[in-house]
């Protein structure tokens, strides 16, 4: 694929990519921007190369997930060292206050319910419901077997519905 064509298609996926980066970064907007810029850098300088074995979206989402995981590892080390220095405990699930302020009440309830799920369940559900992927495509983006992805999908959906129905009561 030519560079110009690749750039055009990645630009078409930009909003969805940012949504997925937000999901991978526990909805921290600043971190999601950093991750997405790192992903674009990897593509621009050839460290990440699309070989056409899957759809562009599946490949791009897999790169975003791996880059976010690397960022999280570095962030955890940074938080740990900072916590030792400041004598306070790091908080990996701290939500971004700016992003939270911009969410509607329904969206905030959904995000709160998603936080109650296991990471894999949340990722599979977001890829299917938020990004319109099939469970098979979600499995490819997450490097999971299809069977495993299906189990995460069904259990995650049950827990999510229970959490949302519980919050509405």
């Amino acid at each position: 694929m030519q560079q110009a064509e690749l750039e055009r298609r990645i630009e078409e996926l930009h909003a969805a990519s940012f949504g997925w980066a937000l999901s991978c970064c526990r909805r921290n907007r600043q971190e999601a921007e950093d991750v997405l810029q790192d992903v674009y850098m990897k593509i621009l300088d050839g460290r990440a190369r699309f070989d056409g074995r899957s759809s562009l979206k599946t490949w791009l989402f897999a790169v975003i997930r791996r880059t976010a995981a690397a960022h999280a590892r570095r962030g955890a080390l940074h938080d740990f060292l900072l916590a030792r220095w400041a004598r306070r405990e790091p908080d990996p699930d701290r939500p971004d206050p700016h992003a939270a302020a911009e969410q509607s009440q329904a969206a905030a309830a959904l995000i709160a319910a998603l936080r109650t799920l296991a990471r894999r369940q949340r990722e599979v559900l977001e890829l299917v419901f938020y990004h319109g992927m099939t469970v098979e495509e979600a499995a490819a983006a997450l490097d999971l077997s299809i069977g495993s992805a299906r189990v995460h999908y069904h259990r995650g959906k049950q827990r999510l519905l229970a959490a949302l129905n519980g919050a509405r009561r």
């Binding site: 940012f18 969410q103 977001e126 419901f129």
Partner: protein, 94 residues
């Protein structure tokens, strides 16, 4: 809540987050500033290390063959010369 409501809730979230997305052009470009700051940090670190080494350079150690313990004088006891030589028994017998 049903599947349909779930889809609707995710659609709402996608729309709300889609509006927060930064401009593509802002992210699709090299980030030279950070590379320069990393280089500057590395240079600063090396400079600090060199300064620390220069300031805390240890004094040259004396050779082991010339070194004397500061408590050597304690080993010099009165009458030590009697223990360092043999008595002349032959001279005394005559």
């Amino acid at each position: 809540m049903t599947d349909e409501r779930l889809h609707q809730a995710f659609d709402d979230l996608r729309r709300s987050e889609g509006m927060q997305a930064p401009r593509f052009e802002r992210l699709w470009k090299p980030r030279p500033a950070r590379r320069h700051s990393k280089l500057a940090a590395a240079v600063l670190l090396v400079a600090v290390m060199l300064t620390a080494i220069a300031v805390h350079r240890p004094e040259p150690q004396p050779s082991i063959s010339t070194w004397r313990a500061p408590t050597d004088f304690l080993l010099r006891t009165p009458g030590q010369e009697l223990l360092g030589s043999l008595p002349d028994l032959k001279g005394n017998a005559e």
